[in-house]
């Protein structure tokens, strides 16, 4: 079966080792993770992860179920094909000379990106958007000479009222324990 790109979102307890547990499931099946982004969610002690992987649909579904079995994973869903907003942030450091600087600035303006650092021979650009937007900006800047690129990986959220990850009950926490930073 053909491999396609899948976006999984998960709510996980921010305990040490969670990332390891999840990554190990992908590794066992030789999945390449395109990107993985982790940060706080709306609930205390729960982190939200967005994982973009390439794989056959049945394999991805199997991994999703395996992820769901991880005790520290509270919820996980495959939102591929849903109506979603996906965003990624990239920092691009591009080679710039007196003669190319204004052209670069023009391109950056068209993309509604920002210049966040200026040096004698470079510009650092911050751009937010979906993957496509970042790719196209990157491709346009390539001719000037890319010095560095850093991308956060994609985060995703469903449009409108639907929240596949919403947890109804309020989660009581264990009071008297000191918690470790994730």
């Amino acid at each position: 079966m053909a491999a396609t790109k899948h976006t999984l979102v998960a709510l996980v307890e921010d305990k040490p080792g969670v990332l390891n547990r999840m990554a190990s499931l992908f590794r066992r099946r030789s999945f390449n993770i395109d990107s993985i982004a982790v940060g706080h969610s709306e609930l205390p002690h729960l982190s939200r992860m967005t994982i973009v992987v390439n794989g056959a649909a049945t394999m991805v579904e199997q991994v999703r179920k395996q992820l769901d079995k991880v005790i520290d994973v509270v919820k996980v869903s495959d939102i591929t094909g849903d109506d979603v907003i996906t965003r990624e942030l990239a920092l691009i450091k591009v080679h710039a000379t007196a003669s190319t600087r204004s052209e670069i600035i023009q391109i950056v303006d068209i993309f509604r990106a920002n210049i966040v650092d200026v040096a004698a021979d470079s510009l650092t650009i911050e751009v937010t958007g979906d993957e496509e937007k970042i790719e196209s900006l990157f491709n346009l800047l390539r001719g000037f000479g890319i010095k560095e690129l850093a991308r956060t990986g994609c985060i995703a959220m469903n449009r409108g009222g639907s929240s596949p990850l919403r947890i109804e009950e309020k989660l009581p926490r264990f009071r008297n324990e000191k918690r470790k930073a994730p």
Partner: protein, 569 residues
């Protein structure tokens, strides 16, 4: 009340109803062991290798249905548990392993006897914990036992740094667990159950494939009711053996690579398959693309990740087997499938898979059958891995629930002796026979010392063929008899037993078999019989690797076939 971490662990174990701990101590767990005498309810069994501790906890858990507990020190002690933990993981056995770890300030510094055991066991445990805070200890133990025994059972490991054992903390044992990410589904979906009932009621050639899930859930009566009401024949997986009485007219025995020919033929011909508490392991399905080509498949399992993993499923039902079968049985109408049952009986007659041919030499099949006869089928059988395992599965008839303990998923040689020891310690009233391979037995032979020290009356039958027999069989059949690294020149097992303080007998001839088994049974304590059997006997039937379940190699040299008597319970 203020207690040390070590006392909190012991108190919690007592609260969980733990009676036996299998383990070996060392520097990192010394404070915990030092506390044990304060808790006389906790019986510690000193094994001779940590692998034995994990297998013993496993055997104990399978025999009793309770959670088995093992302990080890940090580093090498914890590493030695790994095979046993993996074994429990693949066969869904509830065990809790407690390991010592180096003190917190040393973690991550490659300290003496430090290994990252939570990292190592991450893919072979249902869950594991590194306890960095003594205040969380009681909660972690509560969760560990809950996770181990609930849902799809499995091993849980708790790694405790040495200085956590000695740190004082307030102890109160939580009454509930709070695991937002863990909510096993127990009730089957009513609509799916309805669909299933309809399929079964309309089936022409229905077949049940029952696995260990039936045993775990204790759904013996429910399975029997389903089979009898709808007149559905039952095949089992290796680990499902003894979930349905094998003497029952509807029992077709085991399926798979070494399944009964007629069981495999039934799978191949069925139009509806009800798979219950089993996971379509490749040894059970053979070539998966050719599995059950005519059947619509109903899959009942507590683990949603098993649904559709290996085999396409038409009706999945996620939940506890007993609860689901109870609900399902209410919708099943009494039917008969005379033609189908007749067909299966014909196949059974035309392809008898458990006859013992007449032979001058001592056949392993004959040995197993005599153990069945002498124990009257009342024993718990614990097997090794390989040919001995398959013969034990074929030639002993399991009518008593939960009477076969075997390493299925991992196929761990060396499981037999420590697991039999654990089973006997858990069920001291039961007769426990360890059916060992001469190869596997030597992998954990040191537990003979534990058996003597703890007075565990296990009966041991070594199926001594002088080979790593199952591998030799593959070499014979698929590698033109090139017996590379399979011949074993064993020690004298009777002398070894004697050195450990266990009486034993060497048996070479047919007529000595029954007296030897009777002598073993009459003896109060452990007893060993070294059965020196035909060295190049093969296990049949066999589905060659890569072939479909219908391509069955049967015993080639049928001299005199004696149709075996089946007793109906």
């Amino acid at each position: 009340m203020k207690m040390t971490g070590a006392q909190i662990i012991c108190e919690s174990l007592v609260k969980e109803g733990v009676e036996v701990i299998f383990g070996i101590l060392g520097g990192a767990v010394l404070p915990l062991y030092d506390t044990l005498p304060q808790y006389p309810k906790l019986r510690h069994i000193l094994v001779r290798h940590e692998q034995g501790a994990a297998h013993a906890a496993d055997g104990y858990a399978r025999a009793t249905g309770k959670v088995g507990v093992c302990m080890a020190t940090s580093g090498p002690g914890a590493a030695n548990l790994v095979t046993g933990i993996a074994n429990a993981y693949l066969d869904s056995v509830p065990i809790v392993a407690i390991t010592g770890q180096v003190a917190r300030p040393f973690i991550g510094k490659d300290a003496f006897q430090e290994i990252d055991i939570t990292g190592i066991t991450l893919p072979i445990t249902k869950h594991n914990y590194l306890v960095l805070d003594v205040d969380s200890l009681a909660r972690v133990i509560k969760e560990a036992f809950y996770l181990a025994r609930s849902g799809r059972p499995g091993p849980v490991l708790i790694d405790v740094p040495r200085d956590v054992f000695t740190e004082p903390a307030e102890f109160s044992y939580p009454s509930r667990v709070n695991l937002p990410g863990y909510k096993p589904t127990l009730q089957g979906h009513p609509a799916q159950i309805k669909k299933t009932a309809k399929l079964i009621n309309e089936a022409q050639r229905p077949l049940i494939i029952a696995g260990r899930g039936v045993i775990i859930s204790g759904a013996y009566a429910e399975l029997k009711q389903l089979a009898e009401t709808a007149q559905v024949p039952v095949v089992t997986t290796l680990l499902g053996i003894s979930c349905f009485p094998e003497g029952h007219v509807l029992s077709l025995g085991m399926l798979g690579m070494h399944g009964m020919a007629y069981a495999n033929m039934a799978v191949n011909a069925a139009d509806v398959i009800i798979a219950i508490g089993m996971r379509f392991d490749d040894r059970a399905t053979a070539k998966v693309s050719a599995f059950a080509p005519h059947a619509r498949i109903i899959h009942i399992d507590i683990d949603p990740a098993e649904i559709g993993k290996n085999v396409r499923v038409d009706v999945p039902i996620v939940g506890d087997v007993k609860i689901i079968l109870n609900a399902l049985n209410k919708l099943i109408v009494s039917t008969e499938h005379i033609g189908w049952v007749q067909q299966l009986d014909d196949w059974r007659r035309e392809h008898p898979s458990t006859v013992i041919r007449d032979s001058q030499g001592l056949l392993p099949q004959f040995v197993i059958r005599q153990i069945y006869e002498v124990t009257q089928g009342e024993a718990t059988i614990v097997t090794g891995v390989g040919q001995n395992q398959m013969w034990a599965a074929h030639y002993y008839w399991y009518n008593r629930p939960n009477s076969l303990i075997s390493s299925g998923g991992l196929g761990t040689m060396g499981f037999e002796l420590p697991a039999a020891m654990g089973a006997k310690i858990g069920c001291p009233e039961d007769t426990v026979w360890c059916i060992a391979g001469d190869g596997g037995f030597q992998m954990t032979i040191q537990e003979l010392a534990t058996i003597v020290q703890e007075k565990v009356a296990v009966k041991i039958a070594i199926i001594n063929n002088g080979y790593l027999g199952m591998v030799r069989q593959w070499q014979e059949l698929f590698y033109e008899r090139r017996y590379v690294a399979t011949p074993l020149s064993g020690p004298d097992f009777v002398k070894i037993a004697e050195a450990y303080g266990i009486p034993g007998l060497k048996v070479r001839h047919k007529e000595e078999v029954i007296p030897a088994i009777e002598q073993a049974m009459a003896h109060q304590g452990p007893f060993l019989i070294d059965f020196v059997v035909e060295p190049e006997e093969n296990v049949y039937p066999m589905v060659p690797p890569g072939a479909s379940i219908a391509e069955i190699l049967e015993e080639p040299k049928k001299e005199v076939a004696i149709w075996p008597q089946r007793s109906t319970p």
